[in-house]
């Protein structure tokens, strides 16, 4: 994004973190919002998007960092003092008030300055409440904006979900906020209603001309409505950009997987603007160092089907699903799966060719190539790392060494060393970790917090509960997110090196 003039930024979030009970909901977020834009915070549940919104609204105070509104620090300002209004996820309409009183709630509390001139000709200002007539007028207008004319006297419980949603919007915009915050406002509506409201909200944004900050986990909603999308995961921003940029140039495999459908394949750079995956070399527009392991992202609609002999790749169709506008065809290319969207159908078992243009091959650095931990050796010559204890071969720490009967290490020079409590660096390759349902079987236990399909295998992250250590590994087996598993690593696959200070 181009650097903007400072006065155009309405909200600036600077190094903001929020910690709840020792876990970080938002970590070191930096973000600015331009005046009048429709910005969406997008991510899976628990990614910190709602917390970020609540900090802008003033319901939560950041643990560290600053929030600026029009350049002024509002970090600690209570919510009732901020020119910001919120549309809540489940509307939070006041059940004991009718529609009129709900919408007029903010106005009745508001005081406006009025300038008077006294007998001596001096001017002075006083605060006064709005008159009944002024409030009536504004409520009528606000209800007109959301298409609910004449609903003033109705009670909240008589309205449908969509109507309640509109009241919530009317209640928020009547106060003429500089920013409207929307926390998954369409989450409780059915699909058809949601589509209609998306269009209406976008239209409202255009008419009102104020800044909208929108929170959703629905990537399609984000792509349709936003000027700018902020993709978040685990309290951190993954990517900020326009919908097109986010879709076409995802910054990492997570964004690619989260936004739209994608084929994520493991590849290796084989030269300048040349990448190898599925045992073929492809021209591409991204450049990385030669021999670097990379993730290759190809959108299903960017894979063109051809006759087998014309294809850059050939594969065998294994599934065809009709999706209304297009067919979703899955083909096996060697051991990798390729998903293709096309208006043409194929039969299962057909051999097809596939063509991918260089422009459509998105290459990103592999996030993990090896697991690295800090650990130490125990009395029993096992190693403790990643919240677990594992059998290992300690002799690799000193070339040519061996263990005596008492468990002491004898170096090649015949020196006897007690390894207990020695700090080591542990490395484990992605392919060398296995998991099991049986909690007692492995050295460490945790939940599967992420899985990403990479064409011929899944990449998993298992996170332990105690210190939130991650084990990243590849596997062809399918596990479910949130499964509680134990991590098994063969002793010969644990690479140990002594920490510098112990040498």
């Amino acid at each position: 994004m181009a650097e903007l003039r400072k006065d155009e930024k309405i909200i600036e979030i600077v190094n903001v973190s929020k910690i709840f009970d020792e876990t970080a909901a938002v970590e070191d977020v930096n973000l600015y919002v331009r005046k009048g834009e429709f910005i969406t915070l997008l991510g899976p549940s628990g990614c910190g998007k709602t917390t970020t919104l609540r900090m802008i609204a003033g319901f939560d105070i950041p643990t560290s960092g600053k929030i600026l509104l029009n350049g002024k620090d509002i970090t600690d300002l209570p919510p009732n003092k901020r020119p910001v209004n919120t549309v809540f996820q489940r509307y939070a309409l006041f059940p004991h008030y009718n529609i009129y009183d709900n919408v007029a709630f903010g106005l009745k509390l508001k005081k406006i300055p009025v300038t008077y001139i006294n007998d001596k000709g001096e001017t002075y200002t006083k605060l006064r409440k709005l008159t009944r007539k002024e409030i009536d007028e504004k409520v009528k207008n606000a209800l007109a904006v959301v298409d609910l004319e004449g609903f003033e006297k109705r009670s909240v419980s008589t309205l449908s979900g969509g109507q309640q949603q509109r009241v919530a919007i009317a209640r928020a915009i009547i106060n003429e906020p500089e920013i409207l915050l929307l926390d998954e406002p369409l989450g409780a509506l059915d699909l058809k209603m949601r589509k209609e409201m998306q269009i209406e909200l976008k239209e409202m944004h255009r008419k009102l001309g104020i800044t909208f900050i929108y929170v959703t986990h629905d990537q399609e909603e984000a792509l349709t409505m936003s000027d700018t999308i902020v993709v978040m995961k685990d309290g951190r921003i993954q990517q900020i950009g326009t919908p097109t940029a986010i879709y076409n140039e995802p910054a990492n495999a997570f964004v690619a997987d989260f936004i739209g459908d994608s084929n994520i394949l493991s590849g290796t750079m084989v030269g300048r603007y040349s990448v190898r995956f599925c045992n073929k070399n492809f021209k591409c527009v991204d450049d990385f160092e030669k021999n670097e392991k990379v993730d290759v992202v190809v959108r299903p609609e960017d894979v063109k089907m051809t006759a087998p002999e014309d294809g850059m790749l050939t594969g065998k169709v294994v599934s065809v699903v009709f999706k209304g506008v297009h067919y979703e065809i899955t083909a096996m290319v060697g051991r990798s799966e390729m998903v293709i969207q096309s208006t043409q159908s194929r039969n299962i078992g057909d051999v097809i060719g596939m063509v991918i243009e260089p422009d459509d091959i998105h290459i990103m650095k592999k996030e993990f190539t090896v697991n690295k931990y800090d650990g130490y050796i125990t009395k029993k010559n096992t190693v403790v790392f990643g919240d677990g204890e594992f059998e290992c071969d300690v002799t690799q720490l000193y070339p040519g060494s061996h263990l005596d009967e008492e468990g002491y290490l004898i170096t090649a020079d015949g020196e006897r060393i007690d390894l207990t409590d020695i700090d080591v660096t542990v490395e484990v390759d992605l392919k060398n970790i296995e998991i099991s349902d049986n909690a007692d079987e492995g050295g460490a236990c945790g939940h599967i917090v992420s899985l990403i399909y990479k064409g011929d295998h899944y990449q998993y992250i298992v996170r332990t509960e105690e210190n939130e250590e991650d084990f990243v590994f590849d596997s062809e087996d399918l596990w479910n997110e949130n499964d509680y598993v134990s991590v098994k690593i063969k002793p010969e696959n644990i690479r140990l090196t002594l920490k510098q200070e112990n040498k």
């Binding site: 609204a57 003033g58 319901f59 209570p78 919510p79 009732n80 910001v84 209004n85 919120t86 809540f88 996820q89 489940r90 939070a92 309409l93 006041f94 059940p95 004991h96 709630f105 903010g106 509390l109 508001k110 008589t158 209640r171 928020a172 106060n175």
Partner: protein, 266 residues
């Protein structure tokens, strides 16, 4: 069919057991003999006349009612504030407070009574109006807390935030948004307090000033001293209270039931 008849028979027998004494008393409140004698019945309003001319009993009736209203009002204010405080506090604070709230609820009344006697005699306030009111508040306040808390839990937590968001100060948000939403809980806490206070004997007996009596303590002492048969007007008093309470409970519940039905049919 047999099952239905058995069911109805059982219900009928138990209802007779429950209401026979009450009915006996109500009927014989219109009989002026000192002791109930089922072999004869002289219809008269004598006992009612005696009741309303007995200034001692009238004073006691008055005492009982104001004590109940005062204790219930204070308990409702204290308990509602307490419930809101507990609801918004961290678990570390809320859990022990809720646990301690259960003590007067689970405890035997006699133990609560003597514990307060020990406390107030230590500070030389034993058998004063203060000890009496506090005694009744100890009985009632936890019930207010326990009837307000569920209403707070049912409330959409975002409504308070929505009020702040729309410009209300925290206290405005509390009074305009939170209190109205939990009002039924507050009301039922108040009503419960009134009935608990009216019903109480043991705590009252241990905390009341010597010369002060409520209906409970007066009637118990009358039986104990054998003077109950010399004041048959107590029958009329009981009859009036039975009738008023039964009418009130039926009225309130039937109306609540009707409202529920209306809401359901909408």
């Amino acid at each position: 069919m047999v099952k239905k008849i058995l069911s109805i028979a059982l219900c009928a027998i138990v209802l007779v057991f429950i209401y026979a004494p009450i009915l006996l008393l109500v009927v014989y409140s219109f009989d002026n003999s000192k002791i109930i004698d089922v072999s004869k019945f002289n219809f008269s309003f004598d006992l009612y006349r005696q009741l309303f001319h007995n200034s001692e009993i009238m004073q006691i009736l008055f005492n009982t009612v104001w004590l109940a209203l005062a204790a219930a009002t204070l308990s409702t204010v204290l308990g509602t504030a307490g419930a809101i405080g507990i609801f918004y506090s961290k678990r570390k604070i809320a859990k022990p407070l809720q646990a301690v709230s259960q003590i007067p609820v689970i405890n035997a009344e006699i133990v609560t009574a003597i514990s307060l006697a020990l406390l107030f005699s230590m500070v030389f306030l034993y058998r004063t109006y203060l000890s009496l009111i506090v005694g009744h508040m100890v009985l009632c306040t936890p019930f207010v807390v326990l009837s307000v808390l569920p209403k707070l839990k049912q409330m959409d937590p975002n409504t308070y935030e929505a009020a702040l968001d729309l410009g209300a100060s925290p206290s405005q948000a509390l009074f305009k948004v939170v209190i109205p939403q939990i009002f039924t809980g507050i009301l039922s806490g108040f009503m419960l307090s009134v009935t608990l206070s009216l019903d109480d004997y043991i705590v009252t007996a241990f905390t009341k000033p010597k010369a002060f009596d409520t209906i409970s303590t007066y009637v118990y002492n009358a039986v104990k001293n054998g003077t109950n048969s010399s004041t048959p007007a107590l029958r009329a008093l009981s009859a009036i209270i039975f009738i008023i309470m039964i009418a009130a409970v039926l009225l309130i519940n039937l109306r609540a039931g009707k409202k529920k039905k209306e809401a359901a049919s909408r």
